[in-house]
Subunit: 330 residues, 2 copies
Amino acid sequence: MLCRIRPLIALVAFLFVVPAFAQDDDPLPSWNDGATKQAIIDFVTKVSEPESGDYLPPKDRIATFDNDGTLWLEQPMYVQLAFALDRVKELAPEHPEWKKTQPFKAALEGDMKALAASGEKGVAELVMATHAGMTPAEFQTIVGDWLATAKDKRFERGYTGLVYQPMLELLAYLRQRGFTTYIVSGGGIEFVRNFSQAVYGIPPAQVVGSSIKTKYEVVDGVPTVMRLAEMNFIDDKDGKPIGITEHIGQRPIAAFGNSDGDYQMLDWTTAGDGPRLGLIVHHTDAEREYAYDRDSSVGRLDKALDDAPGKGWIVVDMKNDWKEIFPPKE
Amino acid sequence: MLCRIRPLIALVAFLFVVPAFAQDDDPLPSWNDGATKQAIIDFVTKVSEPESGDYLPPKDRIATFDNDGTLWLEQPMYVQLAFALDRVKELAPEHPEWKKTQPFKAALEGDMKALAASGEKGVAELVMATHAGMTPAEFQTIVGDWLATAKDKRFERGYTGLVYQPMLELLAYLRQRGFTTYIVSGGGIEFVRNFSQAVYGIPPAQVVGSSIKTKYEVVDGVPTVMRLAEMNFIDDKDGKPIGITEHIGQRPIAAFGNSDGDYQMLDWTTAGDGPRLGLIVHHTDAEREYAYDRDSSVGRLDKALDDAPGKGWIVVDMKNDWKEIFPPKE
């Protein structure tokens, strides 16, 4: 019954292979060694090692990530806004009235100042006009086609290539340690779902986001879910803990953000009992990406930056903590 | 490098063990053999066997289950209504006005006729008054305490013991075959989340249901999500495809229900391309459970029963298809 060769092979393999493997086994190779990286590894280790006093079972290892500015770039404008502007141009021939109506006129003319002046209401109008009147499946096709061809001008690269390599490693590390990783985005839930699985390894059901209302109707005998030009839920600021409660039904033990829009998610997450991790990505690298915080209209980071030390939130200094910003170009 | 004993052991083991194993390996032992059981097994097999022409990858194997009347009993009243009535009695000393106000008066007096007369609006009022004004965590404690002690009068058994054994087997079988199983309930999402993991093996994040609004606020410096006495979403009828779209972000390939409230979920699910399964649990066993359909105020099954043959939905005849109704008493 016994096969005595195998254990010997295993022993030999262990002696020669494992030390080399251990050295290569840095779970966060794009993070520079230092306090930030160590704090992350310490937290993950203590909640996932059964012998640790802070051990938590996998079902409690819930981690939530903001998307814009935390997992991918958000400058000079949110990627979804770039998508909406391109959609306005695409749909303009069907809407001659847009040439004379704000915020569409500004969108068509690329007048970002007038667009900014239209405020959140204006942006919401653009989204409604370009994201509704179709099924979720049809919307997925439109977003997928756009992401496959649209390029960021500065980096001359598609947007799904402009995700942060250190954060991709962090997502993978957490999942490898039994965490379930969620996106909790102020952006549109269906927009993010388009690439979350392929780019982040996060399935559609683990994306929480802002949404427009949908309506169920039977069209020519075909059961159909139709996207409506009506806001349903804003998953930002106060909305993040509310969206998490509704979708996940558990308070996370770790939350990752980059702006004051993530403050409530960070605060609620880290106020829970037991081991908690709050982390803010601080954009400090104008050369390799962007440097912005308190005065930025996109991804403003002000109060959360002030309160981070008192709350025990880790602040990632992109310039010094990250070896790489984006994944290598294919 | 080769170990020649192992293949021999494996062959011997196969010859002697596998036939006996196969016999015991009925994934649905509480289902009587017949067309219903075979149709389920055929569907699951064809979508999960890589060599099948109908194979689908695990990410597409999404199955949604109604809860009341599909996974556990719903007669003589929804379990959550029994909970709400007990809560009204519990809270009555703080609300002397309830003795004179409907539907609370009816609830306190156990006057089911007057309660029925108050309609959905009355039931919603009871739910609001008894399910709000606390955090989700506090609500979980209250529901958990109640479920641990409340008993169904006819079966003299706690409600989590009055789940359908054949459906527990079906849930386990689907998951073993790479499906992700979701509850999509007209009942309250947080109510169902209380026992979904322990009883059905379904984690909180895989429960979709009706919900009341919540509010985020910082109370005495403590970040808090508070349940409000305001309806947020009704996950019934048209609401089921909408709730699935929002929470899961994918059209299921299999849906399981028992009433006209599940019609739209079944219709939308089975109208999709490729292999699809729709199944209705028909309550036909007055002796072991209940027999009801077209004329029942709880779990009315009328149009879905008429349309099932034309839509290709399987109708489970509880009396004849199920060997056992409930799990053995502990």
